[in-house]
């Protein structure tokens, strides 16, 4: 159990959506302590590239699309690194491929995280549920507490 002065290792799942951005900002404004070590974890998903119909045509098309995806991801990761620099917080940016929910829990374990921070939803287009499948997975499978940051626009949706 970390006492107030001890270092906390916090893993924040970032997928590039406004929800994870909000989670990061909320964590920063309300929760973080000076000696936190923050791990920004990105789980790139390449299968979305391969599923596109164009792929059937040409191998070069696939490789181009994947290279484009790699570039975007690299840019995203650099952006994350910059976020940490701007906030002057110790930590690192990690990019691990695989099933996002499983990867988040695995990395949290490996890094000895004391806390996992997620938004409620990610990049998915279908907005049928209040909690996305990945944050749902993490809540149920994590071995450490999970901070679920509800995005502001959910408030509007719930005002019925």
């Amino acid at each position: 159990m970390a006492a107030e002065g001890n270092e906390r290792i916090v893993l924040i799942a970032m997928d590039g959506s406004e929800y994870s951005d909000y989670a990061f900002e909320w964590f920063w404004t309300h929760f973080h302590k000076d000696n936190d070590r923050v791990i920004l974890l990105h789980v790139p998903e390449y299968h979305t590239v391969v599923q596109s119909p164009m792929v059937m045509a040409d191998v070069t098309v696939i490789t181009e699309m994947m290279q484009e995806e790699e570039r975007r991801i690299k840019q995203f990761l650099e952006g994350l690194g910059q976020k940490l620099k701007d906030k002057k917080v110790g930590g690192k940016v990690k990019s691990v491929g695989g099933n996002p929910g499983e990867v988040i829990c695995k990395v949290a374990n490996e890094e000895g995280a004391h806390l996992i921070v997620t938004g409620t939803r990610g990049m998915g287009k279908l907005r049928r549920t209040f909690i996305g499948s990945i944050s749902d997975y993490v809540i149920h499978h994590s071995h450490v507490p999970v901070l679920v940051c509800r995005h502001k626009d959910h408030h509007e949706q719930q005002k019925h």
């Binding site: 970390a2 071995h143 901070l147 719930q158």
Partner: protein, 165 residues
């Protein structure tokens, strides 16, 4: 710099789970100018559905029912006092709030709103006997209905349960 005042609502029901959630707050989250509210939701239905009530032939006997409610009230009073002691021993200047609601989850969400909580801390399971799910109905409700971020504190005992899978 998180130096602004935060209002923390911790949902408690007397179970070990909620005590763990409270302890996690104390050990990992606590900041000097936090305002802490321990929100206890009293579930009136549980008394009426309790085995004691169902088992008696005097189900609608005013005295028997009254006695059960009195006992429950004493139990709750002790529980709230215990939480008051917990706050004191942790050196936290907090408030214990008890709410009545048909649905504990909604009672907790409403109370959290009333005190303008910036976060709700909740354990995963409470006093329920059936351990079929990894998340209790109250924490699940709060997760889906709260207007603020929710910190779900997995109990260490649950950890062993899920590791067995």
């Amino acid at each position: 710099m998180a130096t602004q005042e935060r209002v923390i609502a911790i949902a408690i029901d007397g179970s070990d789970n909620s005590r763990y959630a409270f302890q996690f707050y104390v050990d990992n989250m606590r900041a000097a100018n936090d305002k802490v509210y321990l929100i206890h939701a009293v579930e009136v239905n549980s008394i009426i559905h309790s085995a004691q009530f169902m088992g008696t032939t005097y189900a609608f006997n005013k005295d028997a029912l009254g006695k059960m409610f009195d006992e429950e009230r004493e139990k709750i009073k002790h529980r709230l006092e215990d939480f008051g002691k917990l706050l004191k021993s942790a050196g936290i200047d907090g408030t214990v709030k008890s709410v009545n609601a048909e649905n504990p989850g909604s009672g907790i969400c409403k109370a959290a709103e009333e005190v303008h909580a910036s976060i709700i801390v909740v354990g995963t399971r409470g006093l329920g006997k059936l351990r079929r799910t990894l998340m209790g109905s109250v924490s699940d409700y709060i997760l889906h209905h709260a207007h603020v971020p929710v910190l779900v504190c997995k109990n260490e005992a649950d950890e062993h349960h899920s590791k067995k899978k």
